[in-house]
Point group: C2
Chain length 293, copies 2
């Protein structure tokens, strides 16, 4: 299938490469030409604008930083909507607010483009390995048409509901994973400060109801003091800002997510933003008198 890809960063690049590996013909454009190079070398088509990408392919994907970037590449000058033929499907895989995704979908629909929101979970490792969790909102028929593209990039592909529903699921994911990282970091720091071997505590807890992927993988990385991202703390901070904004809009209290969002704010304030989100442990160590290095 001909497919356009815009946004070739840490996540987008390996995702686009997996589309090529799966036999799709990928067309790329980027504001920074250097970021296109690995894709062009892998055989991707070279485009001069987002509009050109949309002219060359009936389906386009964007993987960018935030809602204004998605608006720019889809609805801005020389954007997707400018190049799209009737029946074009645009898939935004960035993490943005559910309300923003709905608004963009409505404006794209007015210009003949069917939008899907399809944010992902799994980090750079999942993007490289093609094992992402993909949560999709939007038209069911459009979803079925592009399902092979999702399956080339992800292991778990679920259509959650209508426009914005993918972003709602992603927000839920970021609540559970962010709060999960905080609780595991709090528990391991508590064990250590109590003079108890945190490695043994993690082992014992994996045998019971505390079992989680966060405790198993991230807990081990905390014990190994491997804070290399993975998923950067400032990105989790951004995602929880989206969650808390949405909670404000809905009149909805999220006490544990709110406490965790504050800790991500503190991480960025303490210069830990470029570390993996599990450097939450360093913040807690500093807050309890340790060096937190």
């Amino acid at each position: 299938m001909d497919v356009g890809f815009i946004g070739l960063g840490l996540m987008g690049r390996p995702m686009a490469l997996n589309l090529i590996k799966a036999g799709h013909t990928v067309h790329v454009w980027s504001r920074r030409r250097a970021s296109m190079q690995p894709l062009l070398e892998a055989g991707a088509g070279d485009c001069a604008s987002a509009a050109e990408v949309a002219r060359r392919a009936p389906v386009t994907i964007s993987m960018v930083a935030d809602a204004p970037d998605v608006e720019q590449v889809t609805l801005g000058a020389d954007g997707i909507a400018d190049g799209a033929a009737a029946g074009h499907i645009h898939i935004d895989m960035s993490t943005i607010a559910p309300a923003a995704a709905q608004s963009i979908a409505a404006r794209l629909a007015a210009r003949g483009v069917t939008a899907l929101d399809a944010p992902v979970s799994g980090g750079e490792g999942g993007a490289i390995g093609g094992t992402l969790t993909i949560m999709i909102g939007g038209d069911a028929a459009a979803f079925e048409r592009v399902r092979p593209l999702f399956e080339a990039m992800g292991q778990s592909v679920t259509r959650i509901g209508e426009a914005g529903a993918g972003q709602v699921a992603k927000a839920c994911n970021q609540i559970i994973t962010g709060v999960g990282v905080a609780s595991v970091a709090e528990a391991l720091n508590f064990a250590h400060k109590s003079g108890v071997d945190a490695t043994k505590v993690r082992e014992a807890l994996l045998g019971g109801f505390a079992w989680s992927r966060i405790l198993e993988n991230h807990g081990q990385r905390m014990l190994d003091r491997n804070f290399k991202p993975g998923f950067k703390a400032w990105m989790h901070q951004k995602d929880l800002r989206i969650v808390m904004d949405e909670a404000h809009r809905l009149g909805l209290a999220l006490p544990s997510a709110a406490a965790t969002a504050q800790m991500f704010n503190a991480m960025v304030g303490c210069g830990l933003g470029e570390d993996d989100s599990i450097a939450m442990l360093k913040l807690l160590e500093r807050m309890s008198g340790g060096a937190g290095e």
Copy 2:
């Protein structure tokens, strides 16, 4: 092995029955004679005091509500220490503060009794099924001597370290499971209030890093609105009070656990204390304008 058992409530009764099933000779005493009946019918020996239990068996177990109860049955009048012969091992499986466990262990040691703290996780289901997670603190040789007793009651049996270390591990467990329940309840309520099918969200999230036993089991029970305990909210409230007291003593911040402890306080205030801890969802529903029934 002859073993005494004191504290035959929701948890203690099935644990003692599993010891009998495994071929051990169990001797029981309880302040409330009625609670002894099922054990006597199953063949347990009938004792008139905790001291008598200790006279009849070289190993005793207590499973009671809180630290003052443990002190009473071990160090009080007609308690374990009064009846224990040299080399007696006492195992307290209640959930109490690590500092209290250490203090009781030191006072028992002065009277010739070796104490192990061995709190459990897994709830009534785990107690009945013999699948508890048991976290042990105290002397390594004493632990090895009584290991068969633990293996008759639990699936995952781990000696964490010296006296109090089992209670530290249990505190860590209650942080991760309590905060886990809060985050899953917040996420599912967020999905529902956003107009999205929370069932689909849970399914999608189980495919990724958000996977946890809490999301899988408790998440499903929240969707089924099955709030039958299980593990009562007031008990989780009590366990997080122990955790927060200990954090205060250590000068240790636990932001996500603190937010969650407040929610358990609110659950008890709202009359949800006798529900399962997953009735956290009802509290969040009420806090966002729903009926929360």
